[in-house]
């Protein structure tokens, strides 16, 4: 039976779970927003190296006080720091690093993920919305593994894990794991496995999510 906790996960608990799952020594890109929070739970022993697509490996924590340097920012344009062993490179080299499959894990937010691992996170498709994509499509398909962090349900209670995306696609078949406040999903072998549930039973979860779920026994 899958792992279970009585309570839904908080955002910090989700980030903690993701951080614990990142293999030691991995090269990782954390997307803007919730995924950035994962860095707060990585341990020094893990030896994880963070990539920021604007041209750096070995990114350190957010800069504070005198550390702030407008030439040293992350992809969210927030001033950050550099760690010993860092390196700088230009944009073509940085995205080549990503697209070439050299990063181990990329963690992203999402509007929707399909059972096949299709990701939607760049555009609501709403009438009149100004589209903006940034590195979303590169991040989605570039890393060896793409993990998503999202709330499982919309404010209206609809599942964001779906059979077929209704939002515009960011990348096809790219997501292998989804961390939500009520469950962690693993997408492999054309199935959606539920690794753990939080504050909900597997049966209740299966009733609320419109894709076939398989419990990890």
């Amino acid at each position: 039976m899958s792992a279970y906790t009585e309570q839904k996960l908080t955002r910090d608990e989700m980030a903690q779970l993701v951080a614990a799952d990142i293999p030691a020594g991995a090269f990782v890109n954390l997307g803007i927003g919730q995924p950035t929070n994962v860095s707060n739970f990585l341990t020094a022993e893990q030896g994880v190296t963070l990539h920021t697509e604007n041209g750096m490996l070995g990114m350190g924590p957010v800069a504070v006080g005198d550390q702030v340097d407008e030439d040293l920012i992350n992809a969210g344009k927030i001033p950050v720091t550099e760690l010993p062993g860092a390196s700088f490179f230009h944009h073509a080299d940085s995205f080549a690093m990503m697209r070439g499959g050299h990063l181990d894990v990329c963690v992203l937010g999402a509007f929707q993920v399909s059972a096949a691992g299709d990701l939607a996170n760049w555009h609501t498709g709403a009438e009149g919305a100004i589209p903006a994509v940034g590195g979303a499509m590169d991040l989605a398909i570039g890393a060896k593994q793409t993990w998503v962090m999202m709330s499982l349900f919309t404010k209206g209670g609809e599942s964001k894990l779906v059979e077929t995306l209704s939002y515009p696609v960011t990348g096809l078949g790219c997501v292998s794991r989804i961390y939500t406040e009520v469950a962690v999903f693993e997408l492999r072998d054309a199935k959606v496995y539920v690794r753990s549930t939080h504050g909900i039973s597997f049966a209740d979860l299966a009733a609320k999510v419109p894709v076939e779920l398989t419990e990890v026994k």
Binding site: G55, D71, L72, E82, H90, R99, I130, M137, I141
Partner: protein, 223 residues
């Protein structure tokens, strides 16, 4: 040809004419050639096609070029930001054309122009709205989109330092688009903090070789 040393940002951008395609470096404020953009605004060239990662922020630089309707078309990856109000207004009024490109494809298309590549198959964007109308191909079981180079008339770039041959070094994440944009433009115009004598930059550490640099202007580090 050793680069021309311009006496001011205004002089550096003086030959940018109406209808030019201009690559503008920078990601956020890092590497943004603010003084060159201001000079371009002052200079009056219009009907420009601008290539930048974004579409201007707040009331400065590229945002003002857009506000003044001097940009006919923008090629970028991320136009919509909390403070991109001038772009938003121009776009909603139908007064600026937008070509939206995934960030890595934008970088690779600029690099391709500088490298004499006629087109390339990239997996980024395959199966998405941004691949609509583009040639696609399955290669070894994976979907790819054919993307074309982005050539330009000018590049406006900020580097940290140049030698008198135009060899450039950058600073931290301000490097971003500078090195590839320098290769893709007929004329690269570069603002630097200072210009040092030839021989002052270790040949191992040159990021942009002087062959790519046409105009330099030194603006001092305190700007």
């Amino acid at each position: 040809m050793a680069p021309r040393i311009a006496a001011s940002a205004a002089q550096a951008v003086a030959n940018i004419t109406d209808g030019s395609t201009v690559l503008i470096g920078g990601f956020g404020n890092a590497g943004q050639p603010m003084e060159l953009i201001d000079a371009l605004l002052e200079g009056g060239a219009s009907d420009l096609t601008v290539v930048n990662n974004n579409a201007g922020q707040a009331d400065a630089g590229l945002a003002l070029l857009i506000k003044e309707r001097r940009v006919a078309k923008i090629i970028c990856s991320f136009p919509r930001q909390s403070d991109s109000w001038h772009f938003d207004e121009a776009y909603r009024a139908g007064e600026i054309e937008l070509e939206l490109v995934p960030q890595g494809n934008l970088a690779e298309r600029i690099r391709a122009a500088g490298a004499g590549i006629g087109g390339f198959f990239t997996p980024t964007g395959y199966g998405t709205l941004l691949a609509e109308g583009k040639e696609t191909r399955i290669i070894d079981g994976r979907g790819y989109v054919l993307e074309s180079p982005i050539h330009a008339d000018f590049a406006l770039i900020k580097a940290l330092r140049a030698d008198a041959h135009g060899n450039l070094v950058y600073r931290k994440t301000a490097r971003n688009f500078g090195p590839i944009m320098a290769t893709a433009a007929k004329q690269a115009i570069v603002q630097v903090d200072d210009i040092v004598p030839v021989g002052s930059i270790d040949p191992e550490n040159v990021i942009t070789p002087g062959i790519y640099v046409n105009t330099l202007v030194a603006l001092g580090g305190a700007q």
